[in-house]
Symmetry: C7
Subunit: 69 residues, 7 copies
């Protein structure tokens, strides 16, 4: 389960319940899968739709996390 | 995960499950991501729609928190 | 997070999941954000729609609490 | 938070998630807000629609409890 | 809260989230309100619609339990 | 509550939240009601619709379990 | 319940709440049924629709896991 550790400092794709999708550099996380992203953006149909700088996503919203390709 | 600590005293954007969005000065939080905002306002389509003075948002409603730009 | 302590004895606005809204004098709460209100009323479109005397709201329904203006 | 203690033996109104409403004499409860009602009835539009004798309501369904007027 | 203890061996009505309703002899339960029923049947509009013999209902689905009349 | 122990090695019917239904030989379970089934199949309108070999069902999806008749 | 241990290194099918389905090599999991998949792909109507490389699925989304055939 050290996928998140290895992904620190890299870009990740985050899919949330309800279908929202975010991409950003993973700079922190905890056991609840709370995530801190930098240079984050919300994606719509895979395209950047809104920029956020830094954001914290509460872990209970997360469906999956995947290193961004 | 010290994003919330660094954001204390600054304006943050808070997105809730179901799509409601709030902005205000973060003056407190706890491990459940319960948040206390001052000079808070609810946003609709990014525009202020209702003012609240101080408010406490229960953490389990939160999708993400981001320093307001 | 002592917003609720400071609000004891004062009128608060309580917004619940699903959109119901209540207003009343906060006379008790606990760590789950269970709330006891006196002289409580349910609001519809901001107007009183139903009176309750005393009521206990289970905390997991709460979206936010704000001192009533 | 001793509202429930004071309400023991008296008639209470119980509103559940999803909108169902019950009224009955509160004869027991626990920390999860599990409730035991006697002479209970389900209300529809405020009118009795179904009688239950004794019933136990699981606390996680409860939105609020209020002494019946 | 000893309603469930007293109901052991007797017929109970069980209402679930989403509206499904079951009736059967209560032969076991635990602190999560997990229930074991014998001679169980699902009810539709109050009429038996399907028979189950023995069944275990996971407690988090339960809205209320009431001795069957 | 030893219904699950007695059902080990036998065919069970498992109903999930949202209405999906599975049948298979119960070969394992734990306190969360996580279930392992062998020779499992998904049922639609009571008829086998898809075969799975071995599968683990996460307990929080379960509505009820009943020995298959 | 050692189904997941035996499945390590093999291809599994993962069904999520809401109906999304993924397939990939199981390379890690924990007690919450958080899963790490490699060479993962999302399926639509049983056909690969999107490739992910490595991904972590948060366990509370999982309905079932089954060794892929």
């Amino acid at each position: 389960m050290d996928l998140l550790n290895r992904a620190l400092g890299s870009s990740v794709l985050v899919s949330l319940k309800g279908g929202r999708e975010f991409r950003g550099k993973l700079v922190g996380f905890d056991v609840h899968v709370n995530l801190v992203l930098e240079e984050a953006e919300e994606l719509q149909n895979g395209e950047p739709a809104r920029r956020f700088g830094t954001m914290m996503i509460r872990g209970d919203n997360v469906v999956y996390i995947s290193p961004a390709e």
